[in-house]
Symmetry: C2
Subunit: 292 residues, 2 copies
DNA sequence: ATTTGTGAAGCGATTCACAGCC
DNA sequence: GGCTGTGAATCGCTTCACAAAT
């Protein structure tokens, strides 16, 4: 079923401590803010804080499905249809949409354009987020040239690499800067999202500089757990991990068929294709991401 | 908050159909498989089926941390140490490890090598998984050039593209085949994992061929929900979605500071600029070098 | 007649907290 | 004393099912 374990909370010990420290109150600031002082704080604002992390991830998926519908000049869509397009069930979709407000019409469905607008607003896409890509290797090149970013409000506005031969060379229309200039360039160009596509070794250092340059969101392709201050958000994309998860599912499936086959045959089915292969190492998988 | 890690979007798609089709029964594959027939099914096998999906993803992360420790010739590690390295808390780590067995020593910790071996076994990494990459564009190149791909782990054994100019050209040591030959080549080379790095348009078609070629696991970089048979596992990596999730967090943070600033200022209208002394105030970054 | 929006139930994952072992 | 392994409690997301709306 390929779950979508939303994410792994807490970057470190402090988060743990915080949780432990507040047994009764879920969040410190929320409660009394709108108790008396802040009167007209729009419900929409209040809502944003409470959207489940998992729902946020799906909103982005719905948005893409909706864009696709819009391109086909479809103006209205039911929760059932949209859910199918997004690969979820309709109850979940409706629940997710309910977190951002009530923009559907009962008996009819949702207006595509309206929904697009509302999701974009919720995700903060009405504002452009300058992106910096660090590490212009294979992956960095791919990212710099990736059309998907600019098209949806994520202009890549800075590229960095260690290699002097690369500095100054334009990639995807933007000249590469040296990583020594990360802090300066990022603050100057108001970069809000940093993408780390360097080898593991340099990743933490790069991360620190991005943070120093005012970057508050980081997308990390390096196979390392980055240490960041509390106000910085990190998301990690780890190819090797993805592959290994798939590997697990292959293995499980084989076990299941093996077990099923065992029902009639008493003796162990034996290792057909190599049930007991060698204790191979997986470093290759780890390494491959580093190479990027 | 610094949410670290996070695994990626799901690979649903097929789950939708399944879920929608079974209103009454939560999950089809009930647990009666080993009701009576399978006697001595080792606990280890039985266990695999029941490891929470989220735990599987983390096991892969632990594995990397452990490999790193092994390289430093560290032979023993406590749950606390390993948890820190992996970016989780120690209780979760111990729970996760308990799913695969008891390989620690109370009062001491875990032996690094032992744990590596057990996790590799659990994830099915003792067996090689041939990988095919489809779509040799920017990203495909990056993936194919995981040059390191030594013979262990996840050897890339096939590359495919639509472009005739590319067919026959070796990339990362492997000649590119035409996508018309996916079925033949994949079954011949016993590919188990397919990586889709094509544009959206061709992705479903490519997916169908991979499945026809015997591929049961797919890693999809195309921003589309693939429709696959029930026995095929899909994981999706969507860079745009990742960015949008980060965008949401930026937006939320700004709202929070804005709301906090509003507490003293009674009237609405709330231009964030009102509160001068805000931490990390990021201002409007309109129109910058926008290059598609 | 349809379809949304949502309280409530259900369920899986996380965290707690401590017994058991070194 | 230190650390693992795990039942129990808790939390948060998902699913159900139905009232409300058109």
């Amino acid at each position: 079923m390929t779950a979508q374990g939303a994410d792994v909370p807490e970057g470190d010990g402090q988060a743990t401590a915080r949780v432990a420290a507040s047994p009764g109150t879920p969040d410190a600031n929320g409660a009394d803010v709108n108790g008396a002082g802040a009167i007209e704080v729009p419900a929409a604002r209040e809502r944003a804080r409470s959207i489940p992390e998992a729902a946020v991830a799906r909103l982005a998926v719905y948005l893409r499905a909706l864009s696709s519908l819009a391109e086909q000049d479809i103006t209205t869509v039911s929760s059932e249809e949209l859910a199918t397009a997004a690969g979820v069930n309709s109850a979940k979709l409706r629940k997710d949409l309910s977190y951002i407000g009530s923009y559907g019409t009962r008996g009819v469905g949702y207006e595509v354009e309206v929904l697009i607008g509302q999701i974009e607003r919720t995700l903060g896409l009405t504002r452009k987020h300058s992106v910096a890509v660090v590490g212009i290797g294979n992956l960095g090149h791919a990212l710099a040239n990736y059309g998907g970013f600019p098209s949806r409000g994520f202009p890549v506005s800075a590229l960095f690499d260690l290699d002097d031969d690369l500095v100054g060379v334009p990639v995807g229309g933007i000249p590469v800067s040296h990583i020594d200039d990360i802090v300066e360039v990022c603050s100057q160009r108001e970069v809000t999202i940093g993408v780390i596509a360097t080898p593991t070794q340099g990743a933490q250092e790069v991360c620190d500089r991005l943070v120093a340059g005012g970057v508050t969101c980081i997308l990390n392709f390096a196979p390392i757990v980055l240490q960041v201050p509390e106000h910085v958000e990190v998301r990690k994309v780890d190819l090797a991990v993805e592959m290994q998860i798939l590997s697990f599912h292959v293995a499980r499936r084989q076990q299941e068929s093996a077990a099923a086959a065992e029902v009639d045959g008493a003796s162990d089915g034996g290792p057909p294709g190599g049930g007991a292969g060698l204790p191979g190492e997986i470093d290759s998988a780890n390494r491959m991401v580093e190479r990027l």
